[in-house]
Amino acid sequence: MIHPIPPGTRDVLPDEMRELRRLNRALIEVFEDRGYGEVATPAIEYDQVLARGDARASEGAYRFFDERGDLLALRSDMTVPIARLVASRFADAEPPLRLCYLASAHRAVRPQRGQMREFVQAGVELIGAPAPQGTAEVVEVLEAALKAAGLDRAVIGLGDADLYRQLLTELGIEGAARDSVLERLEMHDLVGLEAELSEIAGIGAEQVATCVALSQLRGGKEVLGQARGLGGVAVERATARLQETYDELERRGVADRVQIDLGLLRDRGYYSGAIVEVYDPALGHVLGGGGRYDGLLKRFGVDLPAAGFALYLERVHVAQMEESRRGRES
């Protein structure tokens, strides 16, 4: 007899579990070797506490009332619970703190899109280490994790979350127009972006072209020069931040994996400064991402800079399988 489970959830059977376990171990070993201690937090938290971290992301969360009538939510990532944990448990600890996790999280799905309601993330959080050193360390750990997973072709995209916020301020774009432009950039809808910008009073054709061109700059460190050529204070600042981080990555010998991407924007609300995304040519979806969130811990009462990343474990596993299949075929 068949008893259904909700779409977007699944059972894991021994063959897959064995492979996932191997992958988990390899990743946690990389994190532990670099001084990141593993932590676990409850899957259920007070909605009010999670929303403090990221009101926008909590929109997609599963919520319910407990027996006392308190509103609870299933965590939708681990970054916010760890910020909560650090503020509660390690407020007086000597920074930097290095924590890692392997945990499931839940997000609402759109029907029939193959999205996961429940997924596993493996990641690290480095609390109390500012850019560029802290960012570079996190990218270095990410690089080692990809290597341990056998994803030799994977690429880490490196962008800057503040670039467009500052650029739009510089151009005097505020209010609803600003939100709408940022949304187009996040969706990477260039046609809409151009139309939207052209309608704003005081924005000339040259500024529209600059914005569109910036979002298309991705590649090695030569794109920093190309970006500077487009001018402006916001661009100058963002490229300076990226340059510092990239120099540090070169020094650590992991820059080969990194693609500088001035079009990168991530959909969680807490990022500031450097942001990263992970791609593998064998897979059409992003494998994971992260970045700096220097303002997040302050929302929990501890003013510390922080950075981290999370890999979607199931997607990394699919990429592993695709890569090994490809290896057999060629």
Partner: protein, 227 residues
Amino acid sequence: VISAGVAGLGRAKSDGPLKLAVPRGALFAETLDILDGAGVDTSELRGDSRSLIFETEGVTLVTMRPSDVPTYVEAGAADVGITGKDVLLEQSDRRVYELLDLGFGHCRMVLAGRRGDESLGESQRRLGMMRIATKYPRIAERHFEATGRQIEVIEVKGSVELAPLIGLGDGIVDLVATGRTLEENDLEVREEILECTARFVANRVAHKLRAAEVDELTAKLREAVAG
């Protein structure tokens, strides 16, 4: 146009030529013309071959229904593709990068009712909601929500013009190119919702990992559009 290099990406080896999703149907002929203009050889597609996949120099062309293009491109089964803005709006939860307005395939999404017939207004006034037949339920819902009106969406797959003629719904939301089909079925445009043209889209990962190829094709298409 800035064509960014991909230095530092030595590892991101490409798996064969770029795969481009080509829409069959109304956009097909003009898509082939613009691809010719961009230096892609489309001669094989112009024959009466029943094949779905065509290897050309530098690009593999994959033909499909326009409404399938976002699905293939989002999943990365096709790296880039061409489809109508109407399709992209109807499937706006598909995350694909929209890189270029190709200018052709111009048409309008409209609300239409039977000529001289007052049932749209009457339903709105007396029932507080209109019944709208459409192949574009999300675009229709979004339009009426944005203008503060309630509708009951009736999704149909075939000739939507039929619906109001025999009493399924008070009006339709549909794509209109010349307006002849509406006219022949005794329907008239009541509201313009939006204008659509063909768009060039890319998979998120392909846009990052095959930047040089995607940028080069975008630049060539842009030139072909400019004429």
